[in-house]
């Protein structure tokens, strides 16, 4: 197990990132990890294994649904996509995140000035 502090910090944001990435198209686990890294310009590097507990949790909560399908390389993979509940959760999470980040931004700006 990775140190608790680190995973706690990641937990909320990792969920948000997954929901956001999957909202565009159904993806399998590897693709989700790659997409997060690519889009963030490799600033967000995640331990790929820790992606799966999050995926299972979101699926259990009904925010993601999953189905098995063939990949481009003709291999069977589990594809995750956003459910209706996941869509609305994504919106509230994004809202929440924006408020949080602007708040944090302001505090940093003030401290820097």
């Amino acid at each position: 197990m990775p140190p608790a502090q680190k995973s706690d910090l990641l937990q909320g944001t990792l969920d948000l990132l997954i929901l956001q990435v999957v909202s565009l198209a159904p993806l399998h686990g590897f693709a989700i990890a790659k997409r997060i890294e690519q889009v963030s310009g490799d600033t967000l590097r995640i331990e790929h294994g820790s992606l799966y507990p999050a995926l299972y949790r979101l699926e259990e909560q009904g925010l993601l649904s999953a189905h098995w399908a063939q990949t481009g390389q003709n291999r069977k993979a589990k594809y995750y996509e956003l459910t209706r509940a996941g869509q609305s959760r994504l919106e509230t999470e994004l809202d929440h995140w924006r408020k949080l980040s602007t708040g944090v931004e302001r505090v940093i700006a003030k401290a820097g000035a």
Binding site: E47, H48, K76
Partner: protein
């Protein structure tokens, strides 16, 4: 229900999880290879990037509930294995629990079937029997005389919706194939309304009809081939021709009232002497009339009759008894004592199991210590111990249900003959649930304490190898033993009292040696041997028959003496026989040297029985 789904899909879920992660690792490795790393390096880099597969898998299981199910199953398997490893311990606990639960379930099922389940008739609590009593001779429940019945019926219309008269006898059903003895009852037409008995065919007879009869379902099936044409057909009962008006529905045959033919009882007032008893009375109370009020009314009417007819009715009163009470009330004290005894048995069983579990808990402290040192948390150890004792409790309760089932099956065979309503006893779900509840309560109480103790000992790791239980558990054990002895004293005392009562009953001198006496009951058809006129002195036909019978019986080899009597001594009818009539007939009860009972055999009235003492081989 997520855990239920997790339970049934856990194998596939695990397989899917593995496949998913394998693909991920493969894709990572391919990526590194394409970036130019040699295969071995690429694999290593991929693994590094992914992190621990095992940890990811475990955390996934935590998310979807598979982990909880798997550890529960593991506990259960472990529990069963450790129970199987100590078969003596397990069998003791299982059998103790099974007996406790089973016997209690059976006992409380019997209590309900006999005492508390309403009789299968409409508004059963309004149906009562009305008996006469005689305060001069101290009798409590006697049949009434027909004139008393008519007076009671006419003067109590404010109390009773219906008041019916019943005169039962065994009669010979003739005219159809082989003659057969059937239990018949002459009843007034409102009898069927009292008990809510409905016909399935034809109709029941009405007031004023004479020479008509109603058949039971079973007699109709057996003797008339279930033919619908039976309505209006003729029937010969004790030589008298009757017209059948209907057949009763099958649910109108009650175990406590096993009659097969009902004949209309229509008799002008005054045709029967008031001194002749043999009419049973049953009534349906009016809505809202309590038994106490009916009792008061009947008492008042009977004291009027006593004043009006002092010659026949001196000392006679009336008793109103609810039907169910009349049938089964006599069983109540015995059943209650038994129920309390049996409940005590379950408590003892639980205390026993607690003692065994406690003892075993101290014996297992080292094992627990080893488990704890290998990394098992305290909750994990407790959960394992509790799962184990729960498995034991549930298995014991299940076995107990089987014991209850067997007990209830055996009950009609083991119970004294004539135990009322015993055929209604069946396995009651609530009784089983209650017994299971007690067992689970015992589990919670007696399983948790040892589990707490064991796990705390183990977690402290101190007593490993030393195998000591400490003063606290000794105190608990002592308390349990005291409790057990206290509870056990109750059934022991009850059993002692019952045994001594039984012994005293055996010691009562009934005045003769019953082991050498055979009794034969018989009755003569009234058409051939007509009823005598009061006061029964003149009865030539019957007397001649009795003399012939006695002469023939005495001529049989091995018979030393023969007596013909209304009732045999020390049976319920003697009270009546002895008190109503003076000594008569050949008083040969004392043939074997014991005292002749006062009064002795009497002139025959309704029940006639012959008694033929004969030497025992």
């Amino acid at each position: 229900m997520g855990w239920l789904r997790a339970f049934f899909t856990r194998n596939r879920t695990n397989e899917n999880m593995n496949q998913e992660m394998r693909l991920h690792l493969d894709l990572l490795r391919q990526e590194y290879e394409q970036a130019g790393l040699p295969p071995a390096e690429a694999l290593r880099a991929a693994r590094l990037r992914f992190g621990s597969v095992a940890s990811a898998r475990d955390r996934c299981k935590d998310e979807n509930g598979v982990a909880a199910i798997e550890s529960l199953l593991r506990d259960f398997r472990l529990g069963v294995r450790s129970l199987a490893a100590q078969p003596g311990f397990s069998a003791t606990v299982l059998l103790t629990l099974a007996l406790g639960v089973g016997v209690n379930t059976a006992m409380f099922s019997a209590l309900r079937g006999i005492l508390y389940e309403p009789l299968p008739i409409p508004n059963p609590d309004r149906v009562v029997n009305v008996w006469e009593n005689d305060r001069l001779r101290g009798t409590t429940r006697e049949s009434a005389s027909y004139p008393d019945y008519v007076d009671l019926r006419e003067r109590s219309t404010s109390l009773f919706e219906h008041l019916a008269a019943i005169e039962s006898s065994e009669q010979t059903l003739g005219g159809r194939g082989e003659a057969e003895r059937v239990t018949a009852a002459h009843v007034t037409a409102n009898y069927f309304a009292v008990f809510g008995m409905r016909p399935q065919l034809g109709r029941v007879f009405g007031p004023g009809e004479t020479g008509v009869a109603v058949l039971s379902h079973s007699l109709w099936q057996r003797k008339f081939g279930a033919a619908p044409s039976v309505v209006g057909a003729r029937l010969v009962l004790d030589g008298a021709g009757l017209t059948i008006t209907g057949v009763l529905a099958p649910e109108a045959s009650f175990s406590w009232n096993p009659r097969e033919v009902w004949v209309s009882l229509e008799r002008p007032q005054g045709m029967r002497p008031r001194g002749r008893h043999g009419t049973r009375i049953a009534g349906r109370l009016r809505e809202g009339v309590p038994v106490s009020q009916a009792q008061a009314g009947v008492t008042a009417i009977m004291s009027h009759l006593e004043a009006q007819y002092p010659a026949e009715n001196l000392g006679r009163g009336g008793v109103v008894v609810p039907l169910h009470e009349d049938l089964a009330g006599g069983m109540r004290p015995a059943l209650r004592i038994l129920a309390v005894t049996v409940a005590g048995l379950l408590l003892i069983a639980c205390a026993n199991i607690a003692t065994i579990l406690l003892a075993r808990a101290s014996a297992r402290a080292p094992e627990m210590a080893v488990r704890a040192s290998l990394g098992a948390s305290r909750t994990r150890l407790m959960r394992q111990l509790l799962t184990e004792s729960l498995a034991l409790t549930l298995a014991g309760a299940l076995l107990g249900a089987g014991v209850a089932w067997v007990c209830i099956r055996l009950l009609p065979l083991l119970a004294p003959e004539g135990t009322p309503l015993i055929e209604r006893v069946r396995l009651e779900g609530w009784a089983l649930l209650a017994a299971l509840g007690i067992a689970l309560g015992a589990w919670a109480l007696f399983g948790i304490v040892p589990a707490l103790r064991t796990s705390s000992i183990a977690a402290n790791l101190r007593s490993a190898g030393r195998n000591t239980a400490g003063p606290r558990s000794h105190r608990l054990l002592h308390g349990l033993v005291v409790f057990e002895i206290a509870v056990a004293a109750v059934p022991v005392l009850a059993a002692g009292i019952m045994a001594s009562s039984f012994w005293k009953l055996r010691q009562v001198d009934i005045g003769y040696d019953p082991s050498r006496i055979e009794t034969v009951r018989f009755s003569l058809p009234a058409t051939k041997y007509p009823w005598p006129k009061f006061p029964f002195r003149d009865w030539p036909g019957v007397r001649a028959f009795h003399e012939r019978l006695r002469a023939n019986a005495e001529a049989l080899p091995g018979v030393t003496a023969v007596s013909i009597a209304l009732a045999s001594p020390a049976t319920e009818n003697l009270d009546h026989a002895r008190s109503r009539r003076g000594p008569a007939g050949a008083a040969s009860w004392g043939a074997k040297g014991s005292a002749v009972p006062r009064g002795g055999p009497a002139v025959l009235e309704r029940h006639r029985s012959a008694v033929a003492p004969r030497p025992v081989l």
